[in-house]
Structures are given as structure tokens and as C-alpha cells.
Symmetry: D2
Amino acid sequence: MIIVLKPKVSDEGVESVISSLKQYNISFDISKGTDTTIIGLVGDTSALNRESVETNPFVERVMIVTEPFKKSNRKFHPQNTVIDVLGKKIGGTKLTIIAGPCSVESEDQICCIAENVKQSGATFLRGGAFKPRTSPYAFQGLEAEGIKLLIKAREKTGLPIVTEIMSTRLIENFEQDVDVIQIGARNMQNFDLLKEVGKTKKPILLKRGLSSTIEEWLMSAEYIMAGGNPNVILCERGIRTFETQTRNTLDISAIPVIKGLSHLPVIVDPSHATGSSKLVEPLAKAAVAAGADGVIIEVHNNPACALCDGPQSITPAVFDDIMKKIALYAKIEGRQI
Amino acid sequence: MIIVLKPKVSDEGVESVISSLKQYNISFDISKGTDTTIIGLVGDTSALNRESVETNPFVERVMIVTEPFKKSNRKFHPQNTVIDVLGKKIGGTKLTIIAGPCSVESEDQICCIAENVKQSGATFLRGGAFKPRTSPYAFQGLEAEGIKLLIKAREKTGLPIVTEIMSTRLIENFEQDVDVIQIGARNMQNFDLLKEVGKTKKPILLKRGLSSTIEEWLMSAEYIMAGGNPNVILCERGIRTFETQTRNTLDISAIPVIKGLSHLPVIVDPSHATGSSKLVEPLAKAAVAAGADGVIIEVHNNPACALCDGPQSITPAVFDDIMKKIALYAKIEGRQI
Amino acid sequence: MIIVLKPKVSDEGVESVISSLKQYNISFDISKGTDTTIIGLVGDTSALNRESVETNPFVERVMIVTEPFKKSNRKFHPQNTVIDVLGKKIGGTKLTIIAGPCSVESEDQICCIAENVKQSGATFLRGGAFKPRTSPYAFQGLEAEGIKLLIKAREKTGLPIVTEIMSTRLIENFEQDVDVIQIGARNMQNFDLLKEVGKTKKPILLKRGLSSTIEEWLMSAEYIMAGGNPNVILCERGIRTFETQTRNTLDISAIPVIKGLSHLPVIVDPSHATGSSKLVEPLAKAAVAAGADGVIIEVHNNPACALCDGPQSITPAVFDDIMKKIALYAKIEGRQI
Amino acid sequence: MIIVLKPKVSDEGVESVISSLKQYNISFDISKGTDTTIIGLVGDTSALNRESVETNPFVERVMIVTEPFKKSNRKFHPQNTVIDVLGKKIGGTKLTIIAGPCSVESEDQICCIAENVKQSGATFLRGGAFKPRTSPYAFQGLEAEGIKLLIKAREKTGLPIVTEIMSTRLIENFEQDVDVIQIGARNMQNFDLLKEVGKTKKPILLKRGLSSTIEEWLMSAEYIMAGGNPNVILCERGIRTFETQTRNTLDISAIPVIKGLSHLPVIVDPSHATGSSKLVEPLAKAAVAAGADGVIIEVHNNPACALCDGPQSITPAVFDDIMKKIALYAKIEGRQI
């Protein structure tokens, strides 16, 4: 931590800043410039409150030098995390392909899609049972019934299931029934929910919040990991910007940035990132090229009749086509589908 | 709802779009331009799924003409909502002044601040007991103990208390102990929590999400109101932008925009909007000038020792000063403190 | 300037960073933490290239401690700048009120509006002659003819005229004919234009770019001032965000932030900030409450027939009303219209 | 164009809106809903001013149905534009690879880099002579001398040269000396400059503005094309968002979106998009995967000594490596380097 003092602070001022921090077990390194004095704090500053320091009248600002995330930090855990889900690895050389409809609608629908996407190379089945909808008047998902249908699709295909949790009251059910628990973008900083899933050992697919910085996102992963659950998969799904041609703006740079900062696997959701089925293929390919560990894609047997998110869904035939191309891209990078 | 077809769609194309919507009880108005055909939908289109329509291959885009919020919409409820809390009115001509520390820290602290801010004109006491912190390693609040201390401060001063809820498991406690329940910015789209507070009758202070549009914010109010709780107070607290001089960017325009769209009261939080104590006064005054129904301000007896959010807190003396100025502004607009 | 080294850099690494900077006349203050070593640079670092330092393999990042703006910086020029234009002061206790139509359309129109706004208290007349339009097919302004009409309006009313320059080829004409030269938001970083107006002594109204930070804005003022022209007036006119209810988002905090950082006058444009005539009054009042030195407002005798920007224009009658209210607000702050 | 009237407008209101538009040669299609009446305008509405219509008291809003860009619109020009520069094609199956230093610094430097990048597969040489710098105190480029050095490098290598223009006064020189004229992000809406380069026949590399929408970007291309110059190459270089880990956020979706909307070639600048040399490779690969027609990459023989933008430059050796990988990606898409 570095404390930059206001211009022309006297020696007494410097002394008073330092004495206000005497209770911490740290030492101080004072650097007097022509205009500005800087105090470097040496030692463990984690107990120190940056904001309190900033209220000191002699202090101009406080700069944090070390990253606030620990367990998710690659510096302290250089190897990639690889998560095993029913024998399938997330974060290894094989890409993780998660596919399925926005909402589970019926047994026929989910089982038919599951079989189709499995054939094309998907290794996980996704499908919404509890749906976060902007409007209280919109379809909210089949809820518990949806989970049952997902389980049937898993029985038929062997694909592990990925679905979103919205309530802490359902954690036991999800722990028992679901293979990967998804935390949606709107709940990325629902700290109560993060703490609860941190108490389980289930793999957690943590979507990035619509306007969350990469650092905040890693801090939310940190909440889960600090609770004792190291199995976090990050999912970039587009951020909110001023551009209106796409629903969100896929932050493709986030993939290599996170690969540098953290050891956690990162996958990309090109369907939600853009809201447009035509953009799924180019963005899925770009994600693999940029180093993503996998993709999560909305596939619907009949997008025009989907109960939600039709425009961003693709058909199983289109999905099959995309998988073939992605396999070629993966190969260049020494990976497989 | 208006459906804009792709250029040069044939009559058969137009017919096929219409027949795909035959099951709804609506009529159609077709408008053929030189390039583009437009279908106007007449009747109740609320059951219709915009996104499904957009997947139709003849459709270029679908435009929503009517606003999706109903219960919070001023068109259907022209008078201002006025909410009564222990005899104090929110949304009337008298401004609502909510003040207190970021976190409840001790009985002395909260009671002392409560007495101070009451003297200066505050009508509600705020204080965090359960704190949403970006880092799991940061102070998380005194939790249940904090609520007890708030109750003590209420006993001493008579000020109704406002504090944030983060978990649905605490709703009964909050219903019993707290006068206005706050939903924080990060939980604005925690739909599970919104539904639950919608089942109570408690006034809900709904903070705007960091990157939520005004329409999404009103839709979150709609979740609470659709559940049966009409007592929603909106709180603008700054949105996330590229500017880094302030923690967030106060969207001052949101106040008159919401006053036009909705009948709900709107207050402003200048402390969180900027993260800087020096900006509290000018922004509080601007809020009143722009038509806000009140302000919520962080006040701490010793900001340099606050356990969180020190830099944005002001002292009781500064608060007193600001209140005097705000009273003058209010008077111009025919309001009082 | 502070150089933060990568974790665990050896003494040789530290030495190599320092020796790469030996050619500058600065001294070094080394602060070794448990993990991280920090080098404080003492002396004049202005010749040093931050980006080159960052490419050094031992360097994690470089932090700039001092602000890059000098001539516009309040630290080196504590008193407010007050600019005299034909006897009218900008930046003093009297508010600057600039009013007029988006575009000059005819002699009748501009003279009629000029007389109206003068009567209501405006001290400057604005009107576009050369118009920056997003589309090449839209009305581009009356150009040179527009300037002539503005001059006629000045002759009739005595109001100094404010109008936008878009081309360096017109600088001589503007110097001769115009009283305050406006640089539009889209040209805020047209450095060629900034340099040229910096060679004149004319007051320059520098609008903030749509997505420019406050620091970049001050750096553009710095371009003008470094050229020898100290007469810069800053104009906040809304920034680009995700919100769509308003055309832009007025950054009301920018006013007190700039008042802290700089000695230059700041005015607010509520018309362009929102694109809505209904929002002009509340935002103009908020601007005065937040400490602005004035406002610039679009007024048109017949907004429905304006050749551009109709929806954000107000009529002279509405303008008159707003002026009366603003006068009350100004009085509270010890200012006048 | 569609006019949505306010709720419950009477027949007289509808009639008055229509009669206000009688002077245009258009017909009207009225669609009365239960709440809202909509007027569809049939015919050529290009002369009609949307904003004037919106000031009509009966009008709620006006929706534009057709895209405002014409000459750059793929609907009216379905084939891809391919631009020939000294025998090299931009926009064909062969990728365009533009490489070189941020700034031209010396004859040795530019010629050495040019020979290196040519060897690795670059087909164009870039290098800044006139530099747009945020600070007036920063190095502004070698200016005219820089252009001379670029010409020498072209003589030695045969690579056409790409460099930025900042002033209309230099257009004749650039027309004579430079092969592709770059318009920088900060000048994307410098309409004076756009009009001037529109009068030449030179290929124009038009960078996207920091906060420009895709539509605004195409409208700036339209300015150039409307002037008579069809040779526009679009360059995505990152947009401004709240994220701070990268200098800007590369909008990878913009590539397929533009490929859908327009026939113009699109290239990507991964160096400026991120400001980080480590991110150049993943983003260059992602760009090719997403369908870009090429990339523009900063290469410097000694990034640590570059006079500007060091941290985002890569060495010729790294560039060579990236080219080999990009060639593999291009092959999958049926393209070559």
C-alpha cells in the first residue's frame, strides 16, 4: 500500500499520518519528492482500511499495490485448475462444450435437444428451470419440474447438467440434483448466495455481472473459494456498454487477462453476449482462438417457439456445424472437443 | 407492438407472419412502404413473446410501443405515491432526510449520530448491519447485533430505521424490527429477494443497480408491487461509467425522468454516488433542485475511524450545515425539511 | 512517479530498472516490502516516458502521482479565472447565461430570439452556423451566412455571440467576427484545432467529449492554454452511458470535481445533455445548485419548426420562467443572473 | 418512419399530425390500437426532420425503420468492397496485415522494422508521423520528416505506407505521399476532415471513435463516400467501457455485425484495443476467427525504447510467431496471409 500525501505537507503532517497507523505491525518508507511525499507501507496491510486512511486530511490518495484476490490468484497457484464433473474435465486440454435451451419446456424438448447436442460433441447439458426475468409478468421457468426433466435428460444421455440457482433455499436440492450450479450475471454480487454455494463442493459456473470489472468478478469467485469450495468456473457473457447493435458487448480480452491473473477455467457464452443467433458462430470461434476453456451455447430444436430468448438460440443443425469448425480451431491450439 | 418486416417481403411472407400470430386475440394493421412493410398489432399483446416473433425469418425487428411497467406507471396512477412510516411521510411536500453511518459500530456511535442528525433535521436513521462488501475478507457488519443497536437508537430518538437486507432468511426479522427495508444496488435484480419483500407490507428502499437502466429499475419495483407491496421508494445512487474521478456517476436526470414515468417517490444518495465527502453538499443541493423527494446521507461522528466508507462520510457538523442550505432550496420549490 | 516492481525482483533487477533511468536528473527512493519493491522517483519526471518504463520486464506498473495538467491546475493558480467578453464576466459571481437556437435559420428568427432571451436575462447569444451532424445528408447549417446573421443580432441587442468552429481554415474569420468560439464535443480531441485556437486570444468554450474523462478534458484545455490562450471556459454537456431515456447522461459531479481541480469557469448545457425540453428546467437548476458558473440553453421561437434539435429546445416563454427560478437559486449561493 | 402518438389522442389530433406533414410527398397509414395510434409514413421520408416531428404535442415518439447509411449499406451493395492499393487487395480472401511502430523515430528504425515485418508476411507498413497525444507536453511525432522516412522505407521494401492525418492543411501532401490515409479514433467525427478526405480517391482507414456506436461509425464512412471516395476501410480499435484491466475493450462482435450491415472491409487493431503486448496474439487470432479482413499491429525493434506506446508494441520476433499462427487460422476460413 502506498500513501500519497498532499503537496507541501510538513514533517509534522507526515508524522501524524504514520502515528495514526502505529497499531498495525508494519513499517514505513518515506520518500520526499520536490512536491509530494509518499509513504510506502511494508508488511501485512490486509487489516488496514484504505478508506479510513483516505479521510486523513494530509492524505491525497491511497494506492493498492497488491491484488485483493488470493485464492483465485495465479501468483499463489501457478497451475491451471482442472475440475472433474462425472469424469469430464473442465480446464484441461479438452474444451468444455455446454449446450441446451434457455428454458426447459417439456421432457420431449429437453431430451431431444440433449441427444442432438451430445451427438455434435457437447459434454454438458444446460437448461433453465428457475429463470431470472426482468419482468415479473414474463415466464419464470418450470422451476422444480424443470430440474426433474433435466435429470431425465441426464439419465438418457449421460450428460452432466448445468442450471441456474436463484435462491439460497434451494441449495440442498441443487447439491443433490445438479452437476454444475450456475450463478447468473445478476446475482454475481449476491453475497449471501455466494457464501452459501461456497459451503458446498459443487462446481460453480460464475457468470460475470453486466457491469462488473474483472477484479470484482474474481472477488466474487474469492467469496466462494474462501468458503471452502475451490471449484469455480468463470463465464464471460458480455458487459453493458453504449453499443445497441448487440444486447451486450462480449469482452473478448477478458479471457487472456483472466488467464494471466487467475488459475481458474474460463468459458464464454456467445449467445447471451450478443442476443443474436447469427453472431454465435463467429464469437464462439473467437473465444476458442483467444484461449477460452470452452463455450456455453443456447440450442433449441425450434427457436421460433422457444418460451424465452428465441433470437439468440440456434438449431441443433447449426450447432453441429459450429462444433466442426471449433474442432479445427481447437486443434491449432493443441486442444480437442 | 410493431413488427417491421425485412425489405421486399412478398404478400405470402406478410401472410405467414400474421398467421403465426393467429392464436392471439389481436388484429393487424398492415402498412406497405416502398421498401418496408410494417405490421401494427392492435389489442392486448402482453401474452405475446417479442423474441419469438423476432426469430421469424421475414421479420427485421419488433418494436415495443407501450411501457412494460404497469403498477409503477404514472399513466395508470397519476397521483404521487406518499408512504407513511411511523407518521413520517415519504413522497409528500416535506423532504425525506435519511442520515447515519455506513456501518453500525457500537451503541455509543449509533445513538450519538442519531441524536446529532435528528437535531439537524433528519427524519430517518440509516446504518448498515449486514454489509455487502466486494471482498470476503472485509468487515461484513455487526449483523444481528447491529439491528439491535439500531433499535436502541430508535428508542432514544424516535427516528424510524432504514437498513439493508441481503438474505431472504432474514425477512421475518426485518419485518418485525426495521421500518424501511433497503435493497442494495447489487441486489436490484435479485428477483428471489424482490419477490419475498413483495409479500410484506414494509416500505422498501430500492437502490438502482450500478448499470441498470431506468426501465429495468422500474421493472424491479414492479416485482415488489406485483407481489402486493405498493410501498416502494426509489433511490438513485450513481451508475457505472468510464469516469474515474468519482466512484460512480450520479445520474441527476434520472430524477425528473422518473417523476415523469412513475408515481413512486425518488430520493438520492450523494454519498455512494461519488465516494467523496466533499461532493456531498453540491450533489445534495442538486438533487433537491432537480426534484428529488429526499436524500440519504452518510454521517459519521469520526469519519477517519469509520470501519467502512470513511471517505464519503461527513461529520454531524457538516451535515448540519448542509441541512440549512437544503432547507433554502426546498423552500423555493414549495417544500420543507 | 512511482514504479511498482514485480513480486520477488532481485537486487540486480532493482538496480537495472534504476540504471535505465540514470540519464534523467532524478533521485530514487527504494521501499522493499515483503513481496513487492517500490521505487519512488524524486525530481522532475516530466521528460520521462511512463510507457517505456512499463515495458521493462521487472516493472509491474507505473503510477503517476502528480496531475498531468499544469496551466489549468488550481494547485498552481488558486484563484478562479474570470474572463471578460465585451464587458461581461464569465467565472465571477454573476452567472453566465448563454441562450439561443441550435441553428441560425433567418435574420428574423435569430434577432427575435436574441431580443427575447436578452429580456429574460441572457447575457450571450448562441446559434449554430456550422453544424456538426452525424449524417452527411442532414442540414449542415447556414455556414458563413449564419455568422452574418449572428452579427446582425449582436448589433441589435448588444449580446456577444457564441458559435461553433469546425475547421481550422475559418479561424481568422471567427477571430474577427465571433466573441466566444465554441469547440464541440466531437472535436474536443481534434488537437490540430485546439492548437490553432490556442494561438488566438479569443475565449474558447470547450465542450466535454462524449466519452472523455475529466482529466482528458482538462488536458484539451491545456492544449489551448499551452499555446498561449488562457481564456478557456469548460462546458459539461453529458457523457455517453448505457442509459437510453436521455440522449446523454449529465455528469453533475463534474462541476464540483472541476472546481476542485481547476480554476477555469465551468458551465452546463442541459439541452444537449438530455435531448429533452422537459428536462431543461430541473437540470439547469441542479447545475446552479452544484456550483456551475452558468448555463447554455437552446431556445427557439417555434421548436416544432426548428431545422435541428427541436425536441430539446424550449420557447422564450419557458426560458423566461426558468430564468426567474434560477435567479432564486443563484441568490442562495450569493450569485446573480 | 413510424410515428407513435400519445395515448388517447383524438381523431382531430391524428389529423393535425398528418396535416403538419402534408407538404412532403408521402402517404399515411393509420393504425388505431386500444390505447395507442400509430402512423406509418409511406414514401421517401429522407427530407423529413425526425426531431421536428417529435416536438408535436400529440407525438410520443418517432421510430426510424430504415438505416440512415446508404452508400456503405450492404442492402444496396451486396458484394464485398475490395480496395486495390499498389496491387495489394484489401477486403479479398487474402488478409491485410499492417505492421510497424507507433511512431517513426529514425531512418534506421523504420527501415529495419519494415524489412522485418515484410519478411514475416506484413503487406503494409504503418508508422505515426503526426501523433495525436492527450497531452500537449508529450512527443508529437517527427511530422513531415516522419513522412519522408516512411517513403524511404517504402522504397526499400515496396510496402505501401499507412499513416494518420490530423489536419486538413496536409491533405495534398498526404494524397501525394501516402498510400492509405488513416483517420484516428479521436477524429472519427471531425466532419471537416471527413469531407476533405472524401474529395480524394485515396483509401481511407477509418478508426472507430472511442465511444462511437457502429451506426455512427458507418455514418462517418458515409461522409467520406458521399464526397465521392468509395475506398473506406473500417478499423475496430476498442471502445471505452468501465473495465480498467485493458486500455479499451475490443468490440469483437462489431466485426460480424458490420459484415452484415456493410460491404466495407473491416480490420482490427489489437495493439490499441488493449494497450498490452501480451494480449496482441490472442486478440489478433480472435479477430481472424471472427471474420476480420486483416489486422494492424504495432511492432517495434526495441519496445522499451519506443518514444510512445511501448507497452503495447511487440518485437519483430513475436510478430513473426503471431503471423505463423494467424496463417493457420486464416486457412480454416479459406483465406491466406
